[in-house]
Every structure is written in C-alpha cells, then in structure tokens.
Symmetry: D2
Subunit: 339 residues, 4 copies
Amino acid sequence: MHAAFPSRMWGWRPYEKRHIDMKKIAILTSGGDSPGMNCAVRSVVRYGIYKGLEVAGISYGYRGLIEGRYQTLQPRDVSNIIELGGTFLKSARSNRFLEKEGREAALANLLENGIEGMVVIGGNGSYNGALLFHREFGFPVIGIPGTIDNDINGSQKTLGFDTALNTAIDAVDKIKDTSASMDRIFLVEVMGRFSGSIAVSSALAGGAEDVLLPGEPWSIEEILKKIDKGRRRGKHSWIIIVAEGACQAQELATKIKAHNFDVRATVIGHIQRGGSPSAFDRILGALMGRAAVDGLLAGKNCHAVGWRNENAVIYPLEDAVRAKAENYKGQLNLVHILT
Amino acid sequence: MHAAFPSRMWGWRPYEKRHIDMKKIAILTSGGDSPGMNCAVRSVVRYGIYKGLEVAGISYGYRGLIEGRYQTLQPRDVSNIIELGGTFLKSARSNRFLEKEGREAALANLLENGIEGMVVIGGNGSYNGALLFHREFGFPVIGIPGTIDNDINGSQKTLGFDTALNTAIDAVDKIKDTSASMDRIFLVEVMGRFSGSIAVSSALAGGAEDVLLPGEPWSIEEILKKIDKGRRRGKHSWIIIVAEGACQAQELATKIKAHNFDVRATVIGHIQRGGSPSAFDRILGALMGRAAVDGLLAGKNCHAVGWRNENAVIYPLEDAVRAKAENYKGQLNLVHILT
Amino acid sequence: MHAAFPSRMWGWRPYEKRHIDMKKIAILTSGGDSPGMNCAVRSVVRYGIYKGLEVAGISYGYRGLIEGRYQTLQPRDVSNIIELGGTFLKSARSNRFLEKEGREAALANLLENGIEGMVVIGGNGSYNGALLFHREFGFPVIGIPGTIDNDINGSQKTLGFDTALNTAIDAVDKIKDTSASMDRIFLVEVMGRFSGSIAVSSALAGGAEDVLLPGEPWSIEEILKKIDKGRRRGKHSWIIIVAEGACQAQELATKIKAHNFDVRATVIGHIQRGGSPSAFDRILGALMGRAAVDGLLAGKNCHAVGWRNENAVIYPLEDAVRAKAENYKGQLNLVHILT
Amino acid sequence: MHAAFPSRMWGWRPYEKRHIDMKKIAILTSGGDSPGMNCAVRSVVRYGIYKGLEVAGISYGYRGLIEGRYQTLQPRDVSNIIELGGTFLKSARSNRFLEKEGREAALANLLENGIEGMVVIGGNGSYNGALLFHREFGFPVIGIPGTIDNDINGSQKTLGFDTALNTAIDAVDKIKDTSASMDRIFLVEVMGRFSGSIAVSSALAGGAEDVLLPGEPWSIEEILKKIDKGRRRGKHSWIIIVAEGACQAQELATKIKAHNFDVRATVIGHIQRGGSPSAFDRILGALMGRAAVDGLLAGKNCHAVGWRNENAVIYPLEDAVRAKAENYKGQLNLVHILT
C-alpha cells in the first residue's frame, strides 16, 4: 500500500529502520481545540529535544502542513503555555488535505524539511487524516487524542475532557442557583458531538434530575410524567442535561412549555472548549506527549496514544478510529437513582 | 392617596410616627434572582435583630406575600448563605400582585402578622410593585436593587452586577481561547435586558473587538468592513459582545456567515444569574441590608437603597423607578481604541 | 477472632447470612475532611434507600458513634450538598475510639439502633479504626477512601485528591505570576502528609522547576547549583514544590536566602482541603457510595472501596491499610525534563 | 528645586509647554506586582498610540530605567495580556534609584531615548520615587496606583485590590468548609502591609467571626471570651481574619492553643498577588491608563490617577504619597453585628 513515491524521490530509508536514528519530528494540532493541547505540545517539544530530536511546530494543522508553516521549536518557545487553553500552534480544518493533491503537497513539505515522523493532536477526523496519510505514503504518524468529546476508541479519557466537564459542572451549579430560587425547569445542553460522555458525567456530577443521551431512548411524555410526579411530592426545580447529540435543548423547551411548565433552555456552548486546563488534563498532556515521542522512537509508525488504567499506552491508529462503543446504562441508572 | 382602609381596619398608627417604635419588618426577594441577594437578606435579618426588630422572611416574593408564606428568621437561619448564589427565600413573579385584589390580600397578611415595614430586594418590576403598594396603602417599603442588569436609576451599582460581569468575563476569556486558536469570529450575547451595562463592561474587561449596545447605532456593513480591514492586517480572531437588548447573536451570526466568514454565536445565558457572589457583591449586600433597616427605622417609608460614591444611600423610590439614563459613549470609544 | 460478645448479648445473627436481609446501615465521615465526602454520603443514602435500606447518618465520626449522634437520613436530607466542600455530617478525631471501652460503647449504640453495617469515609487512621472494630466485634464495615493525600493502598485515586490538586495548581499558577514578574524563587509547600502525590502531580501540572518528595533524596547544594546554572542561561524565576512530608518550605527558604537569592516560601495550607469538589471527585463519590452499599449487601464485611482502572472495586480492608508503595521516579524525571 | 541640569544638557524645553507636542512617553511597573497592571499597560500603550504618542516599555521598573531596558511597544505587543496576572514588563525593586547617581543615570537614559513623560504603575514606594525624580529634574511623571493593598491616599480603590480580595474570599470560603466540618477555629492571615483594607473587606464578605486590624485595639483575652461565649451557645467553628499589619496568625494561634482550643493558622500568602484580574480591575486598568495619558498630555506633570466616585481622576502626586487615613470602625462593627 505504501507508494514507492517517497522512497524514489526523497531517498526514503526502509521503514523498518527509519526510527532508529530519527532526527526530526513535526507536531501539529488539528480540528477543534481542546484544553491541554498546549501541555501536550510542550511535552513533545521538550521531551523530544531531551531525546535528541529536533521538533518542528506546524501551525494551523493540516492546512499549515500543506502551506509549509514550519518553525523549529526550542524549549523556550513552549514556556508559559501550560496554563493556557486553546492551542498556541493554532488549529484549522483543511479541505485540501482531504484531496490526494493536498496530501502530496504536505508530504513534500515534510520531506523537504527533513521530518521523519509526525505527532498529530486532534480528534476523530484528524486521526482519520493521519491514518490515510500513513497508508498512502508510509509516513510515520502518532496521534494524541485531543478532544473534549471523549469519543476516541481505546482511550479511557481524551485530552480536554476533564476540563470541559468541570466547565460544564460549574455552569450547571450556577444554573441550579436560579432553578432552585425560581422553582424552574432548566434544560442544559452540553457538547460532545455524537458522544454522551460529557452529558452523563455532568448529570452525575451536577446532581441533575435527568439526562438525555445519544442512543438512549427518551420521550417527552416520560419527562413530563416525571416532572409532574416530582411536582406532586413538592419538587419544583429541575435540571435536565441534554447531550447535543440527543436533541436540541431549545426545541425540547418549546415542547415542554406547551404543557404549561416554567422551563428555560440554556446552551453552555463554546466555553466548554476553552479555559485553563485542569490538573488532570495537564498531566495527561505531559504523559501523552512523552509517550508519543517514545512511540515514534520505538518505530510505532501508525499508532495513537491512549489512556488506560492510569497509564499512557500506544496502540494501533486503526483501532483508535473505530467507533467507540459506549455504554451509559450504569451511570444513567445511577443518575436516576441519586436524584 | 393613602387609603383609610388599613387604619380603620387594623388600628394603623399615623404614618409619621410609625417607625419610631417599629417592631417587626418583613423581607422578600422578587423577580429574577441575582447573586448577593442572600448576603442582603442575611444583613437585614441580623442587623435588624441587632436593632431590636423581629424579621419575617417571606418566600416566593410577592406571591408568598399574598399566600401568607411567612417565617420569623433567627440569626442561625441565615448562617452559611453568604457564599451561595440565588436566594434561599426563593423568588417568583406574581400576576396576582398586579391586581388590586392581590395587593389587598398581601396587605391583610402583613398587618395580620404585625409587620410594619417591608424590604423588597429586586429589580425594576419589583420596585414598581413596591411603589404602587406604598401609594395605595401607605405601607412603608424600602427597596434594595437586586438585579444583575445594573439598570436601576440612582444607584451606580446593583447587587449582582459585579458577579454577573465576572461570570461573563470568564466566559469571554474561555471563548477567546478557541477564537484565537481557530482564527474565528465569535458573537457573544450577554444579559442585561434593556441595559448595555454588562455588555460594555465585559467588552472593555474582556478586550473584545466590538460591542453592540441598546440605543447605540450599529450596522452589519460596518462590522463586516472592520472585520475585513482587520483581516487584511493579519487579524483573524474576533470577539464581538452583543447586548441582549441590542440584537440576537444567532441572527447576526447567520447574516455574517452569509458573507463567507467563519463565525459562531454563543449565548452565555443563565449562568450569569448564578454562582457564588463576588467579594464586592457580598459587601454590597451587607451594607445595603444595613442601610435598608436604618432607613425604615428613620421613617424612610417609600425609598430605595442606592450605591453612590462607595456608600449605601437612601433616596426616594420614585426616583429609582425612573428610566436610568445611560451614556456608554466614553466606554464604547475606549473599547474601540484599545482593540 | 470475632468476640462472642455481640452474638451472645444482642442476638447477633451468624455472619455469613447477616447481609442477606440487612435492613439498616450507618454512615460516618472521619478524620480530616476532603472534598467529595458529601457526594459519597449522598450516594450511600440515596442508593441505600433505593436498595431497601434505612440509612443512619452519624455526626462527628467515631466520636459521634460513641456519643450516639444518630439521625435517620431521608433523600431530602442530602439535597444540595453535592457541590459543597467539607462534610455536612461533620468529622472529628476521637481518642475514646482508640480505647476498647470507647469501641464497646460504639458497638452498643450501633446495635441498639438496629444497625447492621457501617460505611466509614476517611483516610488511613479511620480505616485502621474500622479494621480494629471489625476484628473485635465482627461488625460489618466498609471503607471509602476520603482523603486528599492519595495515600490509600489499593486505590489509584482517593476521594478529594483531584480537587486538592486543582486547588494547588490554581495557587501555583497565581504564584507563577509573581515569580515571573519579579524574577523570584518561590518554594511552595503542598499537603499530602507522608505522601508525595499532590507534590509530584502539582509540579508536573504546574510546570514547576523542581519538586522535593518524601523518600526521594535532595540536597540544598544541588538546588543551589541548578538555580545558579539556570540563572546563567537567563532563567530567573523558579517554582519549587515542596511536599510537606519532605521538608518545611520556610526553613528551606531561610537556607537558600543565605546564599543571596531572592526567595519566598508560601504554604498553600488548608485551602487544599476545602472547596467545591471537582467533577471527578463528585463522580468518584457517587460511584464509590454505590459500591459501598453493594459491597455490604454482598456480604463484604471488612472491605474497602478502591478506584482501579476507572472502576470502583471492593477489596479487603487489611490490604487498604498497608503502606502504599509509591514510585515517583517516572513523574519526577519528567518534571525535570519538561522544565 | 528643578535642577537646570537637564535643560542645559539636553535642550530641555521649558516645562510649561512641554506637553503640548509631547511625542514619546515611557511606562514601567514598579514594586510588588498586582493583578491589572497588564491591563493598565495595554491601555497606556494603545490609547497613547491613538493619541499620537510613541510609547516605550521599560522592563524591571526603576532598575530597568537605569539599565536602559527600553523597548518601543506596538499595539500587538500588548495583545492577549489583559487576562494575565503579574506584569509582562516585569517589576523589581531598585536600590540604585534611591541614590542620586542612579536617578541621574535614569534621567540620562530617558532623555537619550527622547522620552518626555513617564507613567509609573506601582504602590507607595514607587510613587515616592517618582515624586523625588520629578522634584529633582522636573521630569513629567504620572502614577497609577498598582497595589493590592488599597493604601494609596486619594484613591478609593487601587488596581489589584478587587482581585486580591476575591482571592482572599475564595480561600476563606474553602477554609470555612474545614472549619465547619471539624468544629475548628481558623486564623486566616491576609495581606495588606500596614493597611487593613483586605482584612476588613474579606471579613465582611467572608462572614468571618472576627477580624484583627492594624490600628484597632484587640486583646487575646477578648477573643478567648468571645469564643467561649459562642461555644456555650453551640457555635464551634470560627474564622478570624488577621491583617498582616495587625499580628502574625501563627503566633496568635500558639497563644490560643495554649488555652486548649482546637485552632489552626493559615497564611493565604502570595496567591493574593497573582491570578487573572477581576472584571473590575481590568476596567480600572483601562480607565486609569487612559487617564494617565490624558493627564500627561494636559500638562499634569507630577500627578497620580485616582479612582473616585466611579471615575478616574487626576490629582497631585504629593497628595497621593501622604498616609491614607482609614477608618474601619463602621465596617468592623458590621462584621461583629452580622456574625
């Protein structure tokens, strides 16, 4: 599957030995930003340099790869970024990288810059891009799961999830103040794309009365019945977490309002992506960055870093891009029982 | 204007002397909740008791006044509420209080409970209710401006505004992480009803590129022109604060998107009402609560507490319900200059 | 080992069957408080009731057990505590429980109240008390590791650690502002008793230049050498995390100051124990509470709840009280490499 | 008093007209850092440029002035600093500036760089330096009160005070969790040098039981009496705020402990200096920066910016360096009444 292309044109060494004296790697952040990305970049840069590598930062993700936005990073370049949200390398989505032509341009740039391996920090889409890129050209890639959605197969936690969850909880706590003061129902929509991870966790941690999850059945009738039942035993304030992948809070609010309940919808929105990373995400970034460098140096050339049993592990990228099978039943039941 | 009604029926003492040996007052929170309300209630209860008064807490605002939801509060009842958002007395909006019948029922309850003065913590609507109530029945009332909107005439700050502003700033900071990482335009809608106070302050404090305020002219053409001009000199991320009284962020986003810009709208929403009150709002609550009790005892029977020149002052309620003339020009210019 | 005492005196049923129709359990928090204790109590109470149990809350830990401070808890009694630090059951240290006489009084109270199992939330000392209590009387106990120190053998995380760590990080971030602005060395002492868990984690997450850990060798000469070396390559600000089990920051500061460096010591102190629990600690509390109830009902009568591989597990209490073997080498090296 | 020195040597224009076509100013931060300094620098730079000035940033305060650490600042140089604590210009204390020789070197640098006015952001010591500098050489200076201590005469608030107060409150809230859970007395020492401003405000906002202030009498006997009295009516947890200018918390704790009370001392320490500035401090920085530039351009050549009645005002620097007469009686009484 590896095209002969690079080896012919660029004197590409045989894959099996490539890592042994790897000299230069690149790092980029891709897709939506997530808190902790800066910590991972810092770790890759400093640990990479410690391991004798030169590390090039590529700005604007795959787009920058194509446009040749390279800069060799020194330890000082990643000073004072550990506590910052977002990604100082900037991120972007790239349509050109979806085309063969774009990927060839990216490869040409990598090779021209003497880069022999690439760390990609991003979510599912970024992983798929990296996998395709490796399959086409045999170029060594390793992924770090940078996404708040916690939807990467093979990793118990993704980088940014813990921070996003804490931001969501903080919002839920604040909304509960009003909900309790005004005896009001609040539908709180949280992020997570097709995953219900932020939703079920914030329901459990926020003490929400209910949570609507992608893939879990719910009906407005049942919600109304529960609210009504609660009301009869004196319970008037009500927080229902809504995963963005389950339904739109605003639409649901309109339907519930039609039954004469005092209900408000609030969409926590983009604040979940930003903010100073939590302690956990900072440590995750540090450990995953180290694992990515070690992985590349060990010849893991189409892999991802995962978090399992409190450790950063390396596993095949093709496992990482598979759909994550999630089972929220246990936590969902507990949300209902603890309310 | 004072109806003979209460004095006839309840042996109402002549107004002029009433306060001299006032024995019992009531306190309620009304309208939307705001952080710091609990601090003000705590202050009224404890300072009132210190001044020899009995203080009855009325739950659910004017609705509770009508429904007779009274409870004498002891110092212990307001323990450990200083750091809590919302209002432990609960709040509500009351349609019955808009009717003469409802207000008469409220008065009957007050008199039956031996209450001789009332502290109302709330915003404009609550103030209007209190003013009407006083005008009809001569019942002594004093208002504390509990609203995040900072729209009460005669008070430089309202109770809850500082906390809401800090919450808005925190959200803006987080959104800037994504905005800067993705080179994206964000429209951030903040609360404030018809007031632009939170909007202009959060724009100045958040370092926003622009802010749309009620009463200040703006046009989509000019916004697009600025963005375009910025883009040409290398500025790609953009935060525009939108006061809810100026326009809807989502609608504006749709229009800007039509011009091929990468734009997102986010509505900070109800989190601005909740949360632990800031240091300033806690102190404001303490000082305003004391002023309210002192005011009632000094015979200020249709007044409001205001914050002027770092002091809690007492002034006529009819001044407080007038529209606040706001002039954002200076701050608005500064937002534009500092960007 | 089980004394015949209870069965003779109280009609104690044979141990093996006791759990099958367990009807009433007790819960207490003991030792130093930690954030998340309230979440665990809420979970034990509500999940216990869901499982058909009556749950008695005992205030002031073992002292309350002896003094008979019992109160049956209803679901409503644990409303609105999920977001609060500390423990609403209150905690205490009890000298009487160290004496046989005290423990007998405790047992008498438990039996008199018809209690058949006990959940103890606390750290090492509390666990040892529970173990002794079980060994003496055969009374079923199950522990939940409530301590910020993360020093319980057999549990990857303890309840409160994540919150304390985030509080420490927040403090480190703030101190870095001054350290960087003033080109100053700061020694920051964090909690953890004999454990270096908070210290090494906050050093890694805070981007500290160094960390002194219990059991890891360090010398003032080496610290001075590093600082001096850094200074020569232009590095003037310096954060050194000091585990309370390693040395006293103030003393070390005095010694470093003697070498003419601009150094300050700061002891983060008790703020690390308090504060609203993080999302992770809230979820941990919920899951551990459920596991404790399930454990008691499954006849696990001298066990602890642990956190392993993202799951709450049940394991023998005697394992939990063994000294935790910690190896900070990997993280410690990474702290040094990433600086 | 103005030495003929500069005009002779550097073609110094007569003072009275100097400001009319002022072309270049300098800005520095001096003394201890405080949150909001960056906001003020950003405002001076961007507003100054808007007014046609060139603005030179001087790093390391007066030391940098002497050592010639100048850099012309562009609008971009102050991007993304509004939310950062500390001062990106760095600060320092300078012994050489206390000597005539040092100040002459500073002047020489200023004139050599064509600088015609200077904005000094700092506290009392920095103000005294600026005053002396102006008196010696007639060089135009304007001060911005950057200190958390709130001890500058003529300004109701200083830049950084609100943030420090909120940090102190946050710490007090956390400590209350433990205090309440363990029925324990906590002495919490806050900053403020000789001022009791942070102390009395954090006591009022934190709901502390007592506060010890500089200049206000207190005795250990009275404290013990109060605690004892409280204990008898069932009050066991106790927060006493201690201003660093009043006494040392640790010493007092030792004395109270000697009377068999369960007491802990905690020194909040340097975290009070750092952290992202509050909304208020950011706005203060913006408005004070503008006022400083306007002041220099209006020929206010030995003045300070103050905050009065919600406005930035300009007043003589010699007033600003006078001791601030503070009267805490009213707030102190309220602390006692509200407990």
